[in-house]
Amino acid sequence: MVQEILKVRDLKKYFGGVMAVDGASFSVEEQTIKGLIGANGAGKTTLFNLITGYYKLDSGKIFFKGERVEQMPTFKKAQIGMVRTFQLTKALSRMTVLENLLLGPKMQSGEHIRNIFLRPKMVADEEARIVEKALETLEFFDLMHMKDDYAGALSGGQKRLLEMARALMTDPKMLLLDEPFAGVNPTLARKLVGRIKELKERGMTFLIIEHDMTLITEVSDTLSFMNQGRIILEGAPEDVKHDPRVLDAYLGGG
């Protein structure tokens, strides 16, 4: 049976008098990849910010794994498995690449002061496992040679990879990726598409904002097209891609 992991109903968000998200509704089924496309200013990133709790919504409902979550703070959503990346990459500059990844895993025992002093063995063992996992992840993302460099020294594309790697370290149920391929070289972007599909097979769900039509068509199971704050079209990638409204938004029309 198909389960909806994320369900959004009639989300609204105004900035002053401007309606950024105007009654957006859609669902994401578990273990699928949904692409979210739309012209600049259509409200895609605002929608991400509403879903993950960075913005307070003006009205509407959000369900995650069947639970109402619109009042839940961001960090709790992350703890129950909803993790995002950012369109403008946020590398933790004055931390090393490795440290960025080590931060990812949830509920680390060493994040509690008492464990650091009372259960040092447990903390050290856990840290060793996390380091091992982080190194594997770095290897996959071609960042191994940079592991001891400050994250702030990475290129734009590398920061994007770092962010995705860091998000994966949390073992999320669902990943919301905001333009994951922008600035990433084509070879690696293909590799990422493969990785995303592989993670889906293992049970992960994705919601991806992306402007590169070829890549997003290739990676997604379904596409949603957003225009002026609403989802106005949903369906199989090939159908959505060739819809006149989509062509109009992307190619510019008369």
Binding site: T74, F86, L92, S93, Q108, I116, V123, G152, A153
Partner: protein
């Protein structure tokens, strides 16, 4: 001569403790606390008042530390959910409220007349000059605090603090309860300041509200920045430089033909010039890492 060095060293040690608490807040967590001296005052006055009302000195000291941490919690709850500049404003206001309370509530604090005649730990049992014992006590405490902090900042807990300093949105995206960590950093930093306050009281044997003016907060900031933010060793080095200079030049008037108030002003000016030079030639601080300043966001 030795006595004099010991006396200066005690002051260095007290300021190192005071500033290393701020380094946890600012250097590692990015909290802008402009009211650090308020927690120093709470530590000092609580220790003294408790002892004067009959509590044993160790219990009094512990109360000072705990109460300073508690006030860190009180100040943090309404402000740490807001952006960082609010914390700066609220803390500077808080430290002035503390000082004005101490100055005006004479029934409790004797106001500007200050407090004296309180015990110092083991004072009756020390057969030699008490300053030698205080020296050991202060530096022993500094060593313990330094080791504990180093352990903490190199743990996963410290990693979360640094991620909050870099970008708290990322920390929450990864499931970290940013507010809880900020509160913890502020409470620990304040507790350490409270302990420094108790030592300050022992060293001076007389406290009054003038010891806790806002400038004291900025000495701690100078020490942290001079040594290099997020470097605990740097903070200790910063304390040695600033306080040995500041205290050492107190005797300058014997050699320089200026009035004492002019010399006092001159000392502060020289510290200012030193800081400007440092920012020009070594902006990362003495033990800071230069690469960190050239990183883009």
């Amino acid at each position: 001569m030795i006595d004099y060095l010991v006396a200066i060293s005690i002051i260095v040690g007290i300021y190192a403790i005071f500033a290393i608490g701020l380094n946890l807040e600012w250097g590692f967590t990015g909290l802008i606390n402009f009211g650090h001296v308020g927690f120093l005052a709470i530590g000092a006055y609580t220790t003294v008042l408790m002892n004067l009302s009959g509590a044993p000195i160790w219990l009094s000291m512990a109360s000072g530390v705990v109460l300073a941490a508690f006030f860190g919690l009180l100040v943090g709850i309404p402000t740490l959910r807001l952006r960082e500049d609010y914390l700066a404003i609220v803390t500077i206001g808080f430290s002035e409220i503390v000082r004005l309370f101490l100055l005006n509530e004479e029934w409790l604090t004797r106001g500007p007349m200050g407090l004296f005649g309180y015990d110092r730990p083991f004072e009756a049992m020390i057969p030699f000059d008490y300053n030698y014992f205080l020296f050991i006590l202060v530096f022993g405490s500094l060593a313990v605090i330094y080791l504990l902090l180093e352990k903490l900042v190199h743990s996963p807990w410290g990693r979360v603090l640094k991620s909050i300093r870099e970008d708290e949105d990322v920390a929450s995206a990864l499931g970290k309860d940013v507010f809880r960590y900020k509160i913890q950093a502020l409470m620990i930093g304040s507790a350490i300041a409270g302990l420094a306050g108790a030592f300050l009281a022992f060293n001076m044997q007389y406290i009054n509200p003038r010891n806790f003016i806002p400038m004291e907060t900025f000495y701690a900031w100078i020490i942290v920045v001079l040594g290099g933010s997020a470097r605990n060793k740097g903070t200790i080095l910063g304390a040695i430089i600033v306080q040995s200079f500041y205290t050492g030049t107190r005797y300058l008037q014997d050699y320089v033909p200026l009035a004492s108030h002019q010399i006092a002003a001159l000392r502060v000016m020289v510290i200012g010039v030193l800081l400007v030079l440092l920012m020009m030639y070594k902006p990362q601080g003495l033990l800071g890492r230069k690469e960190e300043l050239t990183l883009g966001q």
